[in-house]
Amino acid sequence: MNSFHFGGTRHRAQREPGSDRVRVDATLVSVQQDGPNRFVAPLDGRSERLHAVADGDQVWVHWRGRAWALQRIDATRSSAAGAAEAAGTAHAPMPGVVVSLLVATGQAVAEGDALLVIESMKLQTTIAAAAAGVVIELPFAVGQTFQRGAVLARLEPTEAS
């Protein structure tokens, strides 16, 4: 069953077998395919033209100049975020390059301590520790580029005393 993450909520969207209708949650929506990556659907009495392309487990949809990425949910995977994971890793909020490393592996840090400085599109940002811990890995060296979401630092969280 097809489920998507969109606008902060999960939705089911499944095409009715052999038809141009798609069941979106509890409603049936009519969408015709008009060519590769092109779709036509009625809305408010008008015929709307949309483009869409699959990108791994994502779909990009373009409509009237706007574009959205909808994430297909693998319902057999857990929806609970790994909270333990989050405390021990710092993720890159955007793609960029490492400007300077302010800590070394093995170093103990407190919550909020600056770990490294990154730069992206003329913006410098300091990445801080989300919780107290010991730095176990700094995967990127100064001058190396990374993508959004990349793990910039791994920490072993220490228990609060």
């Binding site: 069953m1 097809n2 998507f4 969109f6 606008g7 939705h11 969207a13 499944q14 095409r15 009715e16 077998p17 052999g18 798609v22 979106v24 949650d25 409603t27 929506v29 009519s30 969408v31 395919q33 990556n37 779709f39 659907a41 809305l43 949309l50 483009h51 869409a52 392309v53 699959a54 990108d55 487990d57 994502q58 779909v59 990009w60 949809v61 373009h62 409509w63 009237r64 100049g65 706007r66 574009a67 959205w68 990425a69 909808l70 297909r72 909020p93 955007m94 793609p95 960029g96 390059v97 400007v99 992206s120 599109m121 003329k122 410098q124 001058g143 580029t145 990374f146 993508q147 959004r148």
Partner: protein
């Protein structure tokens, strides 16, 4: 006259392609560099030859003077066009090209050095009687800089003397923040330009950024090709540029353009250049800096004048005189350009990466698309986030704006977040339509530039299309007669 038979284009993406096309029209062979991280550039498919460059990070390859000069010479080129960005305003590069016996398509190293250095350029402007904003520099007395900066008055802009493109700049509104701003600006300037010298000038509130396209030839002729309005900026980077500047007093326009020509002529300027000024709400203009290269937004000038500026650059580089006198230049209608960037404009202009999964450029009369990506190309943080320039022309400003808006709406670029819809909202904004523009426009109108929320019906439409474009691979259709019964329950 030294004809150019083969041209090395030391650049990439949309500008490399644009230069290749003009060169081809003129019968000039082209060589374009590429890096392993940039294998899908559109220019690579159109140039006659391509040469691999190496460097980590990838931008370093395009800043490697020795390697580029080497590649140009080895491939038998007679000239090098630097495009914009990268080494286009690097005097050492211009000098190295000349020393290698190749023609540099641009001004000489000395002119680049004099006019590219903000402080020197300012002094020169003052000498030529061109108005400048009150300012202070470090010169021979770095210790007294902070004091002199404070004397200039607030608000104050502290920036790197050797910089450009919006990097290393800090606005200071109260004296207490001055010391910190100086530290940050120095650190950034050192990092980006390898030169921590600073410069502080009065910050004009609600300034309009107006620049003039100038052109000089080796015979000493210098003309201007009109002004451009580039006030729609975010983080000091231009997003939308147009010509002519809306609502600009003709007398003021004349004064600015003539000041630009005066400056260019006095500096012995040859080839294409742009004199950037700020215009205050009171109608005063101040020289800001000169860019000794072709600008990103040159297409708007080309569309209203009907000229090919890259062709002019190549001819001037060959030694030809300018083909028009000032009196012969004609301007028709209005042109406006929008920069399509790979960023999420509604999330604080955060850059995005991905791959271009689907690409459909719009079509229409009076539309020009300078595209820097092809379908399937990756979009990474290795290079600039600009993916394309969309330019529209019209007999009136309203028509040009309307055409550009439609073009943005019809641009389908999927696989990475782009700012197309945001740009469309700016163009639709009533204040923009009125032409009240200044560099604070985007910040000031932030709350009225937000995207409209989706209705439930619209959301369902998008989900339905998504379900059709990405069917569940595990799903098997229900067999008959179940499928025909639909969701029947007894």
């Amino acid at each position: 006259m030294t004809p150019i038979r083969k041209l090395f284009i030391a650049n990439r993406a949309e500008i490399a392609l644009r230069i290749v096309r003009t060169a081809r029209r003129l019968g000039i062979a082209t060589v374009v560099p590429w890096h392993a991280a940039d294998r899908h550039g559109p220019a690579l498919h159109e140039a006659d030859e391509k040469i691999q460059l190496f460097g980590e990070p990838p931008v370093a390859a395009f800043l490697d003077i020795a390697a580029i000069v080497h590649a140009a010479r080895d491939s038998g080129c007679d000239a090098v066009h630097p495009g914009y960005g990268f080494l286009s305003e690097n005097a050492a590069f211009a000098g190295a090209v000349a020393e290698a016996g190749l023609v540099f398509v641009g001004p000489s190293a000395q002119v680049i050095e004099r006019m590219g250095d903000k402080i020197r350029a300012r002094r020169f402007a003052v000498e030529q009687g061109v108005p400048v904003t009150p300012a202070a520099d470090e010169a021979d007395d770095p210790a007294g800089f902070a004091e002199r900066a404070r004397a200039v008055g607030f608000p104050l802009l502290v920036k790197g003397a050797a910089g450009g493109g919006g990097k290393g700049m800090q606005i200071v509104r109260v004296a207490s923040r001055l010391a910190e701003a100086i530290d940050v600006a120095r650190r950034e300037s050192e990092r980006y330009f390898g030169d921590g010298r600073l410069f502080a000038e009065r910050y004009v509130e609600r300034p309009r950024h107006i620049e003039v396209q100038v052109f000089g030839d080796a015979q000493g002729n210098v003309i201007h090709l009109g002004e451009r309005e580039c006030s729609i900026q975010r983080r000091f980077q231009k997003l939308i540029e147009e010509t002519p500047a809306p609502g600009l007093d003709p007398g003021l326009r004349e004064r600015i353009c003539s000041a630009a020509v005066t400056l260019a002529k006095a500096s012995g300027y040859v080839n294409a250049g742009t004199v950037e000024c700020i215009v205050s709400p009171e109608g005063e203009f101040f020289f800001l800096e000169m860019n000794t290269r072709l600008q990103v937004e040159h297409p708007v000038t080309e569309m209203v004048t009907g000229l090919d500026l890259v062709e002019w650059q190549l001819r001037v580089a060959c030694g030809e005189p300018l083909s028009l006198t000032q009196e012969q230049v004609r301007w028709h209608g209005h042109a406006i350009e929008a920069r399509l960037l790979a960023e999420d404009a509604d999330a604080g202009f955060v850059p995005d990466t991905g791959r271009v999964r689907l690409l459909r450029w719009p079509q229409g009369p009076a539309l020009r698309i300078d595209g820097g990506v092809i379908e399937g190309a990756p979009v990474t943080a290795d290079f600039d986030s600009m993916l394309a320039k969309l330019v529209a022309h019209g007999a009136t400003r309203d028509l040009a704006v309307s055409r550009l808006r439609q073009a943005l709406e019809e641009t389908v670029l999927l696989g990475v977040t782009v700012n197309a819809d945001y740009l469309g909202r700016v163009l639709r904004h009533p204040a923009f339509a009125r032409g009240d523009t200044d560099t604070g426009f985007l910040e000031r109108h932030r709350d009225t530039l937000l995207p409209a929320p989706l209705s439930d019906e619209e959301r369902r439409l998008l989900l339905a299309v998504a379900a059709r474009a990405l069917p569940d691979p595990a799903a098997r259709a229900a067999p008959q007669p179940y499928a025909a019964m639909g969701a029947w329950r007894n």
